[in-house]
Assembly symmetry: C2
Homo-oligomer: 317 residues x 2
């Protein structure tokens, strides 16, 4: 028993901060959830986390892994997060280490998810794959030859912000036009729904809802019931996703793209058009070399599993 490696995994998100104890076998326990909005200063979050961590004084913990928006692995900083209550660049890892004495590894939340997927999920045994998180935003973690791509500034893998439609929708957070995130996130599909409702004459139950009540889930439910407009909205979203994937495949030639997050629960509604349009837009030598799969991780634990995997990957046993 004493030989099983253990680490804390922390997922810092716009709504919740979740911490859990993870074994190298992927067992998760002692999960605790905080509300992100309760921490207007990142130091208060560090205090809360270290109080919790220190309460495990009898456990032999190898370290703490953190997935956070705009996390910089090299510096252990969170840089200009759009959806967290604090701003600027914060030396999160260094200050948490100081407080609780443990090694701390911090990276982008989607990077953490990618490592989790490689250690415990759909990408087990894969050396070249891309993790795409389809949630409120679109995140990504890229693995090449078994290593997470961090790049010269430690921030590589922001595929959600790549442009897929020149002069397309303006992203309210970044100011960039036509980004993947503007179309293929939960927010993006709602925008598409509004456009399609205004543009197409066809009858659809979606037209009876007020704009503010239209959600990705609502569109999904109507698509399941066979509503043509809702199906078209998913087809279009999957088409854009598939075309973006073709570009990604011609960059790093992954053998797998893993989808994770709320929108990926639409399953075939997203997967089928994505696969079709990816293949259509690939150069001959890349056709049928890359599959698209849904995440193999349990939803509630995925983020902390991934974050804790950072520790198992970076601390020599």
């Amino acid at each position: 028993m004493g030989n099983v490696r253990k680490a804390f995994g922390v997922d810092i998100g716009g709504t919740n901060v979740v911490i859990g104890l993870v074994t190298e076998n992927g067992d998760v326990s002692d999960v605790k959830k905080f509300q992100t909005k309760d921490f207007n200063d990142y130091r208060k979050l560090i205090d809360a986390l270290s109080v919790y961590i220190k309460s495990f004084k009898d456990e032999c913990i190898e370290g703490i892994g953190i997935g956070a928006p705009n996390g910089n692995f090299y510096k252990g900083t969170i840089e200009y997060p759009a959806n967290l209550p604090w701003k600027g660049i914060t030396p999160f890892a260094a200050e948490l280490t100081e407080k609780c004495g443990s090694k701390v590894f911090l990276t982008n939340d989607a990077n953490a998810a990618a490592i989790g997927e490689m250690c415990f999920g759909a990408a087990k045994g894969k050396k070249d794959f891309i993790m795409i998180t389809l949630g409120t935003g679109v995140g990504s973690g890229i693995v090449i030859n078994g290593n997470l791509v961090l790049g010269s500034n430690g921030m590589a893998g922001e595929l959600g912000h790549t442009c897929i439609i020149p002069y397309g929708r303006k992203h309210p957070g970044t100011g960039l036009r036509g980004s993947l995130e503007s179309y293929c996130s939960a927010k993006g599909i709602v925008e598409t729904a509004k456009e399609f409702i205004a543009k197409f004459q066809s009858h659809s139950p979606l037209k009876f809802f007020e704009e503010k009540d239209i959600t990705a889930k609502l569109i999904y439910e109507h698509a399941l019931k066979g509503d043509a407009l809702s199906l078209q909205i998913f087809e279009y979203t999957g088409e854009l996703l598939g075309k973006a994937f073709a570009n990604f495949v011609m960059f790093s030639a992954p053998s797998l793209i893993v989808l994770f997050g709320g929108l990926s629960k639409a399953g075939g509604l997203i997967l089928n058009p994505a696969k079709k349009y990816m293949e259509e837009n690939l150069l001959e030598v890349f056709k049928n070399t890359c599959s698209i799969q849904l995440s193999g991780l349990p939803e509630d634990d995925a983020a902390i599993l991934g974050a804790a995997s950072l520790v198992f990957q970076n601390v020599k046993n």
Copy 2:
């Protein structure tokens, strides 16, 4: 003298096949040029190369490096080359080894150029950079954390075929629409010129040429003389290139993009708009993290330097 490592570098191109002897210090000698069209069968080229190589029987050669269109490093094959006289998949490296007994390493021509640039050129000491070759086509070689990106199928880094304009120009060779190569190659800029000549009312000396006589060089010469239309053509080409670069930077976070090939000789005419539009389309955390530079390699030797570097990189000294 006897301690200086030596290898042959071979560049297989659509027009010429060039072989030269390269030292680990980057000295090139004994260059011989063949015309590609003289080899309707790849085996004839292998024969010609091995006759030449065997004539150096007194030299201690570590191996032969080859850069070729659609070269597969893992398999040593050339796969479905668009611009070579032979077709299909050819086991080029294996058969050349058999003929002349040397170790043979083969990769994509742009990958070879990237390694050459890392060993001898503008990317010396860089761990994360992207090489973009702007010639008849647009090729690329991607280096991440000091390693060439080969991907799951050995063919990664085909950035010239990524889509930059959905439903854009159809590429005659690949059938893909809106690819970077369709706009930012020597052929692409000529297409742009034809479109701009037809579309814009402004006077321009370009309008006095027959379509078939318009070349990238002609547009360049008129741009240098201050012709507004020619300048616009370069500005547009650089704009598209810069926007594509922004997407690449958000993928792998390189600290440098190196430009090589005919069109890159336009210098500032291409570099300035490329830099401007790249920066404008980057997420905040990537701004001013990646420079764009022209190749540091002598043009005539670059390809064989790069190809020979493959040997120095892969044979342990």
